[in-house]
Amino acid sequence: MLELFASQIVNGLAIGQVYALIALGFSLVFGVSNLINFAQGALFMLGAFIAFTGVTTLHLPLVAAAALSVAVMSLLGMLLERLALRPLENAPYIAPVLSTLAISLIVDQLAEIIWSPEGQAFPVPFEEVTYFFGSAYITSTDLLIFGFGAAAAIALTLFLSRSWLGRTLRATAQDRDAAAQLGVRTSNVKRLAFGLAGALGALSGILVALYFKSVFPQMGLPYGLKGFAAALLGGLASTPGAVLGGLLLGIVETLASAYIGEGYRDLVAYTLVLVFLVFRPQGLLGDRRLDALGGLGGAGGAMPSTSVLSSSSSQRKATRVLELPPWGFLAVGLALALLPVATQNAYVLQAVAYAIIFALLVASVTLVSGSLGILSIGHMAFYGVGAYAVGILARNHGWPAEAALLGAAAITAIIAMVAALPLLKLSGHTAALGTLAVGQIGYLVFMTWLDVTRGPMGFIGIPAPRLGLLGGYTLASLTQKFCLIAVVVAVGLALAQRLLNSGIGRVWRGIREDRLAAHAAGLPVRRYILLGFALSGLLAGTAGGLFAYVQSVVSPESFTVSASILLLTLAVLGGLGNLTGAALAGFALTLLPELLRPFAEWRMIAYGVALLLMLRLRPNGLLGAR
């Protein structure tokens, strides 16, 4: 019993060490440029694949392949900084974050094209030895990972605290302008940080490849997110914290998987993140001693700001905002509802129906991420709640469509509000991480709550919408469902736009621009944030419900975090806080891939490049951020 426990701890430490290395990459970059580098996962995956190519194609010994991978990834890290971030230095704060996201979309897809989307066995050149202590055991790979990870972490800590380069790295992190005035070449320092992040990514990628003896192009996101979570647990910018956070996460999730069940590994991990966000948002080793002086930024003299739209250059460029009035949505919705008159083609109607649903969904994202300024990386969870709720109400309880949709919207609103509770005191990056945890937990609940959702098998047999008010008239055909969707979405968007134009919308934007000032002006900030989440949940739940009606089958794959990330980028493309922009982006970019089906392989690459270009040319979105 005790031996089993000891083995689990050792296992946890080994995988935790890997998380720690990824987390170190995050912390380094976050420290120097105050940026959450979403491309860290992509660097990690590429590192593993370059070592894989080195071993299999070039027939290098593992050590040489690893060295090659580390070298290439350091260069790529620097290149990432040069191409994706340097040009955005004076752009809104959110732009570089999205830029790294775009890069990771491109890299992930490229890897699938180069190395095929399937996982491949990573040849481990040495015989694995297992050491037994009673019934507890430890493998040589565990030892290797642990030893190597620990050595890398210690070397990095010493480098940061003892060397001139490390000192300038930390100084640049804390106050870039002041460091420049002491003669530090801050852009070189930044490049160095990204180079190191690339090297760490490569190292951790290789270790994971050794641990699982395989590589797959989709490995970037899940491990990237775990590293991210580990960095947060440790205290975002703290180096020893990142290591501690990684180990803690590794041990906790290994124990959860051993004693509760394999499916609960991630659920427990992300719940831990959420608990930390509530009770210790600064992380294990993060520091609040400086909060009395206005936090790190305040003490350093930098302008404190919570707005995702403001930038380090003090002037904000005036952008023209293109928006529909509330009735405009109704007009467009009615026009779309007439589409079946023009075509009865099921394929077209189905595609346009999904596009309309996505318009509503992205609008719900922009409500929270744009107007309220809390970047949401978890909205798919709310969409999923709406979908399952309609499934349960309509199939298990036989509710008519009006009641089921309203019920689903209400349930989602309540859940979104509850999910917002832990986020109330957070802003900026930590709030975004909180929504990420919410999104991940939502997905995992759909996966594991078998009694209700049937897990990965999917919830099947959702009946066609039956209108109780029309005496139980059933919308059986696709055409009829299509009209229902167009009308419901148009009404939802019109009401939402009406709200954004009202005093409530103004208060939301005020909270986004300066939360402290909003508090100081006597606004009940928390109540407004909860209201924002509730209304966003209302829209997302409605969208989910409509989705369930068209699909008649709902399964967790539709509600992943990577889809949530995509939603956020759509909201940004349209212009944050701009409902028209969000609806348009959601609509057009859901439809576009259908048109480009022959180029499906290149779709995400094209999308990533489009996002990069837009961040450069129109950082406030296509129709302008509001």
């Binding site: 002491l182 003669g183 520091d287 790190l296 350093g300 003299g301």
Partner: protein, 243 residues
């Protein structure tokens, strides 16, 4: 008025724009070696911008800045600092999450190869500022505003620059600390340090400076010996609070 020897720093008719807004209009000034020169003016007069263009933090759209015979306008801050300039930035800007020791050490970054000299200068700073010696291991962010200003001065001192640029050292400090800061600056002046000082507190700046320039809306409106300016009726009325 120019001496035969060329000035250590001369700014020659620079214009500076922030986007569409022009902040400086043909500003010229010079600082001779061993001199303390002060730039005075009210809010938004362009005095900080003048200093920032010397440090390379903003680039002039017109005109030249010559340091020690080399044109430096438009160069990166690190390049300017490398030529022997030290800076005490506006609002102190110490590194809040690093110890007092490390903050001071970073001041010597451009001459980091000279370990022995640095150790000696560090010891000197600690005798000048016993308060900092007591708090060597403390995080700079936890110091009081006055102590942080002392730290910023000590950090600049470790640069051992030919020219020290100081931006509003009295800002946000209690009168007692303002006096303490200027005690240090008087000592630096006595030691022959060349200083370019930007200051809103005209009375104390004119006591320290050899010469001074007065800026208004981005133009130099007055210049001369500090003592003459202190006696000037217009300066007294506008900046020294005389009736």
């Amino acid at each position: 008025m120019n001496t035969a020897k060329p000035a250590l720093l001369s700014i020659d008719a620079i214009d500076v724009h922030y986007g569409a807004v022009q902040a400086l209009y043909g500003v010229s000034l010079h600082v001779n070696a061993g001199e303390v020169v002060s730039v005075l003016g009210g809010n938004a007069s362009g005095k900080s911008t003048t200093l920032k263009s010397v440090l390379g933090l903003v680039g002039p759209t017109q005109g030249r800045i010559v340091l020690d015979g080399r044109e430096i306008q438009g160069r990166a801050p690190a390049d300017v600092i490398d030529l022997g300039v030290a800076s005490v930035p506006e609002g102190r800007r110490v590194f809040p999450d690093m110890s007092v020791d490390e903050n001071l050490l970073l001041g010597a970054y451009p001459r980091r190869k000279h370990k022995a000299d640095i150790a000696q200068d560090l010891a000197e700073v600690f005798t000048t500022f016993p308060r900092l010696a007591e708090r060597r291991k403390q995080l700079a962010g936890t110091l009081s505003g006055g102590e942080q200003q002392m730290l910023a001065l000590g950090r600049a001192w470790l640069r051992r620059g030919k020219l020290v640029c100081i931006d509003e050292p009295s800002m946000g400090l209690s009168p007692r600390f303002v006096d303490a800061v200027y005690d240090v600056l008087f000592r630096w002046k006595a030691a022959g340090q060349t200083i370019l000082l930007v200051e809103q507190n005209a009375r104390i700046a004119l006591e320290l400076a050899d010469r001074a320039y007065v800026l208004q809306y981005g133009h130099v409106v007055l210049e001369g010996n500090a003592a003459d300016l202190a006696a000037d009726a217009a300066v007294q009325k506008a900046y020294l609070g005389a009736a």
